[in-house]
C-alpha cells in the first residue's frame, strides 16, 4: 500500500465517510447499527460505565467487520451523538407543503 493510501485509510474523517456510506447502502446494517446504539446507556456521569464500554466495543467490532478492518472505532462522545440522532431522532428533516417542516 502506498503512503498516501495508508494515510487515507487512517484518516478518521475518511473512515466516518465509509461508515456513513455503508449504512446508507444496506438496510440490515443500518438496523443493526441502530439496535446496538439503542443499547448504549447514556448517563449523567462524565465517565463511561462498564456496560456502556462493552456495548461500544461490540458496536466498533461490527463496524470493523463491515469496513473490512479499517476502522479505529467510535469514541463515547461519537456514540452518544449517533444515538441521539439515529435512535432518539432528536433532529428530523423533510420537505413538502404538508410535511416539509421539522416536526417537534
Amino acid at each position: 500500500m502506498s503512503a498516501l493510501a495508508s494515510q487515507t485509510v487512517n484518516d478518521p474523517h475518511v473512515q466516518l465517510r465509509r461508515l456513513y456510506s455503508s449504512l446508507l447502502e444496506e438496510q440490515n446494517r443500518f438496523d443493526e447499527f441502530k439496535q446496538l446504539l439503542s443499547l448504549y446507556p447514556v448517563g449523567e456521569e462524565d465517565e463511561e460505565s462498564d456496560d456502556a464500554r462493552s456495548v461500544r466495543a461490540k458496536l466498533n467490532a461490527r463496524i470493523n467487520e463491515w469496513l473490512c478492518g479499517d476502522f479505529d472505532g467510535l469514541s463515547a462522545t461519537q456514540v452518544a451523538l449517533w444515538r441521539s440522532i439515529v435512535v432518539e431522532e432528536r433532529i428530523n428533516v423533510a420537505l413538502s407543503p404538508w410535511k416539509e417542516s421539522n416536526i417537534y
Binding site: 431522532e89 420537505l95 404538508w98 417537534y104
Partner: protein, 320 residues
C-alpha cells in the same frame, strides 16, 4: 426581517388583541417549530411553499409591487390555514376556540386580499379550501384502511390536497392581465411543484407516516403493485414493520415515487421556462439535480433515501 415574516407580522397587527398571543407563536402552536420565537421563514426549507407567487412573478411583466405582496400574503395565509386545519383534523393539535377563531381570521383575510387582487378569487380560494379538505379526508380514509392504490389515484388525491396552492398565483396572473393561456401554464407549473414535493416527501417520510398509524402511500402503492404481480387481491395486510418495509423495498416503490417526483419537477421546469419565471426555473433545476443524484442510489440500495434522511443531521454535523 425576511419578507414572508414581515408580511405575516403585518397581518397579525390587524388582528383583535385576544388573538395576538397565539398568532405570534402559531408555528410553535401548530407543532411546526421547537420554540415559540420561530418565524414562518424558519419553518419551511423551500421558499416556494409560502412564497410561490414570488417565484413565478417574473412571468408577469406588468406586475406591481403591491400586487405581488398581496399575492404572496394571500398564498401564505392559505397554506398556513390549511396546515392548521390539517393538524386539527388528524388530531396532532387540539381545536381550541382561540385556534379555530384564528384560522377563520386567516381565511377571511386571505379572501379579502385575493378578492382585492382579482375579483372572484375570494370564492376561488374558498372552493380550493373545500377541495383540499376533501382530498385530505379521502387520503386519510384510503391510507388508514391500508387500501391498495395506483399511481394515478395517488396523483389525483395529492393534487386535490394541494388545491390551496394555486389561487393566489393565478389571481396574480389575472390581476396583471396575463390571459387564459398564461394562467393555464401557471397552474401546470405549480401542479408540478406541489406534486413533486409531495411525492418526494412521501417517499422520504413513509416510515414515520406508517409509525404514526395513519398508513402511508408507499405501503398502499406497494400493495397495488403486489396485486398486479400476483394477478390477485393482496388480502394479507402485514403490519409488522420489517415485513412492510421489505415489501416496499422489494417492489421498488420508493424508486418509483422519486421518479414520479422527478417527472413532476421536469413538467414544472418546462412550464416555468415557457413563462420565463427565472426563480422557479432555477428552483426546479435544483430539485432535478438533487433527484438525479439520489434516484440511481435508491435504485441500487432500496431505502437509501429514507436512511439518508435519518442520517442527514449527523452527516451535516460531522461530514461537512
Amino acid at each position: 426581517m425576511n419578507s414572508i415574516d414581515a408580511l405575516y407580522a403585518g397581518f397579525v397587527s390587524t388582528l383583535p388583541p385576544e388573538l395576538l398571543p397565539l398568532a405570534r407563536v402559531l408555528p410553535h402552536a401548530l407543532g411546526l417549530a421547537p420554540v415559540e420565537q420561530a418565524t414562518w421563514s424558519e419553518v419551511f426549507s423551500q421558499a416556494v411553499t409560502l412564497e410561490a407567487p414570488r417565484l413565478i412573478a417574473p412571468a408577469f411583466p406588468a406586475v406591481q409591487p403591491e400586487q405581488l405582496r398581496s399575492a404572496v400574503l394571500g398564498h401564505a395565509l392559505s397554506v398556513i390555514e390549511a396546515f392548521g386545519t390539517d393538524r386539527i383534523a388528524d388530531g396532532q393539535v387540539r381545536a381550541s376556540l382561540e385556534l379555530t377563531t384564528l384560522l377563520v381570521a386567516l381565511r377571511r383575510a386571505r379572501d379579502t386580499i385575493l378578492e382585492g387582487l382579482a375579483p372572484g378569487f375570494g370564492e376561488v380560494a374558498r372552493a380550493a379550501d373545500r377541495e383540499t379538505n376533501e382530498g385530505i379526508l379521502e387520503e386519510n380514509a384510503l391510507l388508514k384502511r391500508l387500501g391498495a392504490a395506483t399511481f394515478e389515484e395517488y396523483a389525483r388525491i395529492s393534487l386535490a390536497k394541494q388545491a390551496v396552492g394555486f389561487p393566489a398565483s393565478v389571481a396574480l396572473a389575472r390581476a396583471t392581465g396575463a390571459g387564459e393561456r398564461v394562467e393555464a401554464m401557471v397552474r401546470r407549473a405549480l401542479a408540478g411543484v406541489w406534486l413533486g414535493l409531495q411525492f418526494e416527501d412521501d417517499a422520504i417520510d413513509w416510515e414515520d407516516d406508517w409509525r404514526r398509524g395513519g398508513g402511508a402511500w408507499a405501503v398502499s402503492l406497494a400493495r397495488r403493485r403486489l396485486e398486479a404481480v400476483r394477478d390477485q387481491r393482496a388480502d394479507e395486510r402485514p403490519t409488522e414493520p420489517d415485513l412492510v418495509r421489505r415489501r416496499v423495498h422489494r417492489m421498488g416503490i420508493l424508486y418509483s415515487m422519486l421518479r414520479a417526483a422527478r417527472h413532476q419537477y421536469r413538467t414544472a421546469w418546462r412550464y416555468a421556462r415557457l413563462l420565463q419565471a427565472g426563480p422557479l426555473v432555477r428552483w426546479t433545476e435544483q430539485r432535478l439535480a438533487r433527484l438525479d443524484t439520489v434516484i440511481p442510489l435508491e435504485r441500487r440500495h432500496a431505502g437509501y433515501v429514507v436512511r439518508a434522511m435519518k442520517l442527514a443531521p449527523w452527516a451535516k454535523e460531522v461530514l461537512t
